[in-house]
């Protein structure tokens, strides 16, 4: 993807470019600035007119107050558990399917691959009610199971496609040599293909982490009690003060955003290349 960059030559052109880029950056970051500033305002000061751009005094204790309004430690634990288990299942089973699609010539492969791609266009809302009933009959409704179990079955067409595309770019010689030496498919997959596929695995891992950490709809449909709530859902049931104590909601929202940003910055390289790889679907 990277190539020799030739920078814009003229000084006026460069100034113009930076002005535009800065404008976009301000628009991108302004709402987040507003989020953090609101979370630090004194009680009741959300509703001062005109709104203060910089709070007259800073109140980090808002974070403690907000955190104690609901069992947020429990919600956090639930979110971590679901995110971890769902991502683990996705990485394992999506990479297996991707390996089969990329490397093993089996009967019906193209049909299955086309079906896999078509699932990316299937509206999730169309299967929502039967999935709810399925989990209910399995006795899994109102537990954390529905939030991660489905992701141990391939993880989703998009992830399979992404990893498969990546494996297709790898040279096949090393794997063939291993097969000649008598290695089984499983061994080749584990020992040769997977280590080389790390960038795609990392990209899928980051996507999956962010998706499950942020996911609101599945916990809304598949859980009910307070004990099974995740952070995303907990934020919604903040209390009757939902729309009156914005500074507390903004405090919890900020805390929820922190891990996402940490992962995003740490794995930024993989993230961007992953999205770029997905764009190749149109080529």
């Amino acid at each position: 993807m990277e190539r020799e960059e030739r920078y814009i030559g003229s000084i006026s052109g460069r100034i113009m470019a930076y002005l535009l880029l800065a404008l976009g950056a301000i628009i991108s970051l302004m709402p987040l600035y507003w989020l953090v500033m609101t979370s630090l305002r004194p009680a009741g000061a959300e509703f001062t007119y005109p709104p203060e751009w910089i709070p007259s005094s800073f109140h980090p204790e808002n974070y403690g107050i907000a955190w104690n309004r609901a069992p947020f430690w429990l919600f956090t634990f639930n979110s971590i558990l679901v995110t971890f288990l769902a991502t683990l299942g996705t990485l394992l089973t999506a990479s297996m399917a991707a390996y089969a699609f990329a490397r093993i010539p089996f009967y019906g492969r193209n049909v299955w691959f086309a079906l896999t791609l078509s699932t990316m266009m299937l509206p999730w809302a169309a299967t929502l009610i039967p999935r709810f009933l399925l989990f209910k009959f399995m006795g899994l409704f109102d537990s954390l199971w529905p939030l991660f179990l489905p992701f141990w079955f391939g993880g989703g067409g998009f992830y399979i496609f992404l990893i498969r595309q990546f494996i297709m770019t790898l040279p096949v010689e090393m794997e063939e040599a291993a097969v000649v030496d008598g290695a089984s498919r499983l061994r080749v997959y584990l020992m040769i293909t997977m280590p080389l596929t790390k960038p795609a695995i990392a990209a899928v891992g980051v996507f999956s982490f962010i998706h499950h950490w942020n996911d609101f709809i599945s916990p809304l449909i598949f859980t009910n009690r307070e004990e099974t709530r995740t952070l995303a859902l907990g934020l919604r049931y903040f209390g009757d003060e939902q729309f009156t104590e914005f500074r507390l909601i903004m405090a919890v929202a900020t805390l929820m955003l922190v891990p996402v940003l940490v992962v995003f910055f740490a794995a930024n390289k993989y993230f961007v290349s992953g999205v770029a790889l997905s764009g190749l679907a149109g080529r």
Partner: protein, 315 residues
């Protein structure tokens, strides 16, 4: 594929039949073992539910007790239901206006991020941050930003002397306001466009410059056709996504004011999970499925007129 030759002609060496078939058998077993989790998941969580949904739409079922067969009654009721038409209108309005605007903004941002200046990578990261913000946090934040008296946007408008707007509580304005809000997180489309822009051949653009084409003309005549497959992809995914807008309507407006942001999936949710009319809701879900399939098929059909593939037809 024009130069492809039948296998039998190109390989005069006789194949050892038994060995060959053993390998084919082993490959088939290995292939399906690796694919097994996905196949099971596909049947259990996609095919099964789709069929079940079709069956349920022909029944009366509350989620508890007995399932009662009612034939096409649910569909009759749906087609006489004002809220069905209203939610379909809202959703179509939102998707058909929202997607083009989103793509235009995403493309402009991608062009910006494709400029050849130092530190552009930093901006690429910053521009993507809104997209990783959790949807719930995002919605609460924007409810607050749109607040009439104390919100960020109205206070900015007051500074420049424009009278404040009742963003979320005016039936005429709520849908455009939600589209405006969605523009803050178009990072996904933006990055896909950016990757496509980076693949546009420099030589072609330079040749056009030498021939005297202006920047705008080069963009319209060379860049756009070359990235049209990716525009098409973003268009497809965008329509499918926006037709299923849910979270924002549930939390920010709960469908209001006076149902002007009652989107289709929110209506399915209300029918299925709040008034427990699972049969009716399944009928709604199937209609949504068909609508999305028809729109997608039409887009593929019309794509032939404007999507340009460098190497012939898409694979």
């Amino acid at each position: 594929m024009a130069d492809a030759v039948p296998l039998g002609v190109s390989s005069p060496v006789p194949t050892k039949i038994p060995r060959w078939s053993r390998k084919v058998k082993a490959d088939n077993i290995a292939g399906y073992l690796f694919l097994a989790p996905w196949v099971i998941g596909f049947l259990a969580f996609i095919v099964g539910p789709m069929l079940a949904s079709g069956y349920l739409s022909l029944t009366k079922y509350s989620g508890f007790g007995a399932v009662k067969w009612v034939g096409f009654q649910n569909y009759d009721k749906i087609f006489q239901d004002d809220l069905f038409y209203e939610s379909l209108y809202n959703t179509t309005y939102y998707a058909f206006l929202g997607v083009p605007i989103q793509l235009l903004v995403a493309l402009c941002l991608a062009v910006l991020l494709n400029m050849k200046v130092r530190y552009v990578n930093v901006f690429r990261t910053v521009y993507y941050i809104p997209t990783v913000t959790p949807a719930v946090a995002n919605v609460f934040l924007w409810v607050w930003i749109f607040n009439f008296d104390f919100g960020l946007i109205n206070s900015l408008l007051r500074v420049v002397g424009i009278s404040p707007v009742n963003w979320l509580w005016d039936p005429q304005i709520v849908k455009p306001a939600l589209i405006l809000m969605s523009l803050w997180s178009v990072g996904q489309q933006m990055v896909i466009f950016l990757a496509a822009l980076q693949g546009v051949s420099e030589e072609l653009l330079e040749a056009a410059s030498i021939d005297g084409a202006t920047n705008f003309r080069r963009f319209m005549r060379i860049t756009i056709p070359l990235i049209s497959p990716v525009i098409f992809l973003n268009l497809l995914i965008g329509i499918i996504t926006l037709f299923q807008t849910f979270t924002v309507a549930l939390i920010a407006t709960n469908g209001g004011p006076i149902n002007s942001s009652l989107f289709y999936v929110l209506y399915i949710y209300r029918k299925g999970f709040q008034s427990f009319e699972m049969g009716f809701a399944s009928g709604l879900a199937w209609i949504l499925f068909i609508i999305i399939m028809v729109i997608t098929a039409l887009q593929f059909y019309f794509a032939r007129n404007w999507v340009y593939y460098e190497s012939g037809a898409p694979s």
